[in-house]
C-alpha cells in the first residue's frame, strides 16, 4: 500500500468515528464600509507606515512622477512591460527624464546575472489594492514576470485609484479569483524587510529596498 493510501486510510478509519460536521460561518467582522476617498487615504497611510512611498497623480502626469522618482535615485535603467498599457504609455511618452528602458522579454536563464546585478528599477502594473492592510495586488504575467517585482532594488507599482478594495475578501469575491488562479498571485505590502536581528527592522533584505506606488487618477 502506498503512503498515500495508508495516510488516507488512517484519516478515514478514525477511532472516534467521523469528525462532527462543522457548518461554515462567515461573520461580519471582516466587512468594511469605506468611501473611495477613505480607502485611498487608508491605503496610503498604511503603505507609508511600512516604508512604502505613495504618489497621487493624474492620468496625464504620472509619467512625470515616474521620471522624477527615478531621477532622484539616479537609476540608470528601468524595466518596463512590453504589452501592458503602462509600458505602451511610457514608450509613447518619449519622456526626456526617463533612463534607459528595458524589457523582460527573454527567459530568466538567458540573462540572470544582468537582472540580478544591473537592473536598477522596474515598473509593473497592479490588479488593485486593499485599503484595510495597505496592500497591492500583483499578478505577474508573461509580460510582467514574477522576478520583475522582486529582484531590482526599486519596484514602482502603478495603481488605478478606482481599483482599491476595502478588504482582501472583497477583492477575491469581486475579481472572482476562485474561478481561475494565475500561476502566481501576490499581495505586496511595502518593501522587503526583516526583524530577525534583535527585532530591529531592516529593509531590502532579499527583495526590493524601496516600493513606490504611483496612484493614477487620484487627482
Amino acid at each position: 500500500m502506498s503512503a498515500r493510501e495508508q495516510i488516507l486510510q488512517r484519516l478515514r478509519e478514525r477511532r472516534d468515528g467521523p469528525v462532527p460536521e462543522v457548518p461554515a460561518s462567515l461573520t461580519t467582522s471582516m466587512v468594511r464600509d469605506w468611501s473611495a476617498a477613505e480607502k485611498l487615504d487608508r491605503f496610503q497611510q498604511l503603505m507609508e507606515s511600512v516604508h512604502g512611498e505613495v504618489h497621487r497623480t493624474s492620468a496625464t502626469d504620472w509619467i512625470d512622477t515616474l521620471a522624477d522618482v527615478l531621477e532622484k535615485r539616479g537609476a540608470r535603467n528601468l524595466l518596463i512591460p512590453r504589452l501592458h498599457d503602462i509600458g505602451a504609455q511610457i514608450l509613447a511618452s518619449d519622456h526626456p527624464g526617463l533612463p534607459e528602458l528595458l524589457h523582460y522579454d527573454a527567459p530568466i536563464e538567458d540573462w540572470r546575472p544582468t537582472l540580478f546585478n544591473d537592473v536598477d528599477a522596474a515598473v509593473t502594473s497592479t490588479r488593485g489594492a486593499i485599503a484595510e492592510t495597505g496592500t497591492l495586488i500583483v499578478w505577474p504575467t508573461a509580460d510582467e514576470p514574477r522576478l520583475m517585482s522582486l529582484v531590482p532594488p526599486v519596484h514602482i507599482a502603478i495603481l488605478e485609484a478606482d481599483q482599491i478594495f476595502s478588504t482582501f475578501q472583497e477583492a477575491i469575491a469581486l475579481q472572482n479569483w476562485a474561478s481561475r488562479m494565475p500561476t502566481n498571485a501576490l499581495l505586496v505590502s511595502g518593501p522587503s524587510k526583516t526583524a530577525d536581528i534583535e527585532q530591529t527592522l531592516a529593509y531590502g533584505v532579499h527583495g526590493p529596498k524601496e516600493l513606490i506606488v504611483i496612484v493614477v487618477g487620484a487627482d
Binding site: A3, L8, R12, I172, T194, E198, V205, H206
Partner: protein, 492 residues
C-alpha cells in the same frame, strides 16, 4: 546554552538541566524577555478595533471545518494541483519525505538547494539528510541563515534567531562569512543580502514550507516579509514545497480571515510584506518561475493525533507562535530548553505525538497552566486542557485502554500509583477515613520538613491539629444549622 542541532532527539529528556542553565544565563533571559514583551504589545495593538473573539471563532471554525473533511480535501487538493501541473507526493514520516526530496534532487542532478522557512523541514531534519547525500542545503530566511551558520536549531518558530542579540550575530557573521563586525543592523542585513543573492542565482532547487494549501483552487500560500520565500519559489528551476497534511483549507474564501489572524497574532503586523500564492509551474510563454513544482504532504504523526476528537484540535494550529510569546515558562527558559523542533505550549501538545511521550515527558509539565496560551490562540486550541490530557496520558496505566499517544503511561510509578490506590480506598470508607485523619492530626509533628522538590521553594505543609469532622462536631447544633441554608440542608 546553545546545544548543537545535530541530534535534537537525543537531548529531549534533559529539560531540567537545560532550564537551569538558561535561567542562570542573563543574556538569554534578557533577549527573550525583550522580544516577548515587544511581541505581546504589538499583537494587542494590531487587534485594536477588531471583534477579536468573533474573528477567533471564525478562525477556529474554518480550521475545524477543514479538519472535519481532511481526507476529502487532501484528495481534492491533490486533484487540483495535479491538474495545474504540480506533482504531489505523500510521506508517512520525515524520513520518507526526505527521500522524496532527495530523489527529486538526484533526478535533476541538483547539488545546491536553497531553502525558505519551513518548520516541517526542521521536523524532518532535511538539511542534515541532504548534506549527508552530498547536496548543499542553505537556509535563506535571515533568522534561519544565522541559526544555520551557528550550527543551532531555531529557538522560536517565527523568529528563529530570537535568542541572539546583535553583538552575538555580528560576531557570528564575522567568524563565518568575514563580514566586518558592526552593530548596524542595516549593514549586517545588507551583507547577508549580498551573500544570499549569489546563492539564489546558483541554486538548482528551492525548498519552501506552506502556510495554507487551498483545496478548491489547488493553491499553495506562503506568508513572509523578507522576499526569500518568493526567491526560493521563483528563481530556481525546481520548487519543492513541503507541508504537514493538516495545512489544507477548503476554500479560497477561508484564507483572508486566517491570514488576518496569523500575521497579527505572530508579529502584530496587519499583513506581512508578501503573501505569495502559487498555483502552477511556469507556463508556456512565461519568462521565469520554476518549470517543475512539487508538493510533499507529510504525515509524521498527524494522522494519529487525528484519531481522537479532543487531541484533533491540536491540528487546527496555524503556527503563529503567539502561545510562546505569551508563555511565562517559554519566556524564561527560551526555545532551546525544550530540545524539540516546536517549543513552548504548542510544542508541548504537538511533540509528544511526533516523538512519543516517552521522549517528551517533560513537555506537558513545562507549564504553569496559567491559560495565557489558550486565551491568545487565534484558532482557539484549548492548549491548557490538552496539556492536562497529556499529563493524564503520561501516567495512564490501563494497558487495555486504547491510546493513540505513543509512550503513554511512561511516567507511571508503582509507589505513586499504590499510594493513590490506598488514598482512593481510604476515602471511600468513612470510618477508616475518620480514623486515618484523626491519627494523622495527632502525629502531625512527624511530617518531615524536607519533601523533595516540593520543599525546594516552599515550606512543608502541616496537617491541621483538628480534622474538619472534629471541628464540625464542636460547633453547636444551632450554629451548624442556622436558617441561612435550610433548603440545601434539607435536600441532602
Amino acid at each position: 546554552m546553545n546545544q548543537p542541532s545535530q541530534h535534537p532527539h537525543s537531548v529531549v529528556q534533559e529539560f531540567h538541566p537545560r532550564a537551569r542553565e538558561a535561567l542562570a544565563n542573563p543574556q538569554i533571559r534578557a533577549n527573550f524577555r525583550k522580544a516577548m514583551d515587544g511581541l505581546m504589545t504589538k499583537r494587542q495593538t494590531a487587534f485594536e478595533g477588531w471583534e477579536l473573539e468573533a474573528l477567533r471563532d471564525l478562525g477556529a471554525n474554518i480550521r475545524q471545518r477543514a479538519l472535519s473533511k481532511l481526507p476529502d480535501l487532501l484528495e481534492q487538493l491533490e486533484a487540483n494541483l495535479t491538474a495545474n501541473g504540480v506533482q504531489v507526493h505523500w510521506a508517512n514520516d520525515g524520513d520518507e519525505a526526505c527521500q522524496i526530496i532527495r530523489d527529486i534532487c538526484v533526478a535533476r542532478e541538483a547539488k545546491k538547494v536553497i531553502k525558505g522557512k519551513s518548520m516541517v523541514s526542521e521536523e524532518m531534519e532535511l538539511n542534515h539528510y541532504l548534506e549527508a547525500q552530498g547536496i548543499e542545503a542553505l537556509e535563506s530566511d535571515l533568522g534561519e541563515y544565522i541559526v544555520q551558520l551557528a550550527e543551532e536549531t531555531p529557538s522560536h518558530i517565527i523568529m528563529p534567531a530570537i535568542h541572539k542579540n546583535t553583538t552575538e550575530i555580528s560576531d557570528l557573521l564575522h567568524d563565518k562569512t568575514g563580514t566586518e563586525r558592526s552593530h548596524d543592523v542595516n549593514y549586517l542585513t545588507a551583507s547577508a543580502r549580498q551573500q544570499l543573492r549569489e546563492k539564489f542565482m546558483q541554486a538548482d532547487v528551492g525548498v519552501s514550507g506552506v502556510n495554507f494549501a487551498v483545496a478548491e483552487t489547488g493553491t499553495l500560500c506562503l506568508v513572509e516579509n523578507e522576499g526569500n520565500g518568493r526567491m526560493t519559489t521563483t528563481a530556481p528551476a525546481c520548487h519543492i514545497a513541503v507541508t504537514g497534511i493538516e495545512k489544507v483549507l477548503e476554500k479560497l474564501d477561508d484564507v483572508p480571515p486566517l491570514l488576518a489572524l496569523l500575521t497579527r497574532s505572530a508579529t502584530g503586523q496587519h499583513i506581512t510584506t508578501y503573501f505569495n500564492m502559487i498555483s502552477r509551474p511556469r507556463q508556456p510563454g512565461e519568462q521565469d518561475g520554476p518549470e517543475a513544482v512539487h508538493l510533499v504532504l507529510v504525515d509524521n504523526g498527524r494522522s494519529s493525533i487525528y484519531q481522537d476528537n479532543e487531541l484533533l484540535e491540536t491540528l487546527r494550529c496555524i503556527r503563529c507562535g503567539a502561545c510562546m510569546n505569551h508563555c511565562p515558562v517559554y519566556t524564561r527558559v527560551g526555545g532551546h530548553t525544550y530540545g524539540t523542533t516546536y517549543p513552548g505550549p504548542i510544542g508541548s501538545i504537538l511533540m509528544p505525538h511526533l516523538l512519543g511521550l516517552d521522549e517528551t515527558q517533560h513537555m506537558p509539565t513545562a507549564s504553569s497552566l496559567c491559560g495565557a496560551c489558550g486565551e491568545v490562540c487565534p484558532v482557539k486550541i484549548p492548549i491548557p486542557d490538552l496539556l492536562v490530557r497529556l499529563r493524564r496520558e503520561s501516567v495512564d496505566g490501563d494497558k487495555l485502554r486504547v491510546s493513540e499517544v505513543r509512550g503513554h503511561g511512561v511516567k507511571r510509578r508503582r509507589v505513586e500509583s499504590l499510594a493513590w490506590l490506598g488514598w482512593q480506598w481510604m476515602h471511600s470508607r468513612p470510618q477508616l477515613y475518620r480514623l486515618g485523619t484523626a491519627v494523622s492530626a495527632r502525629l502531625r509533628a512527624l511530617v518531615p520538613q524536607k519533601l523533595g522538590a516540593w520543599t525546594r521553594y516552599r515550606s512543608a505543609p502541616r496537617l491541621a491539629p483538628q480534622t474538619l469532622h472534629q471541628m464540625m462536631q464542636k460547633r453547636t447544633p444551632t450554629a451548624a444549622n442556622t436558617s441561612q441554608q435550610p433548603h440545601r440542608e434539607a435536600t441532602r
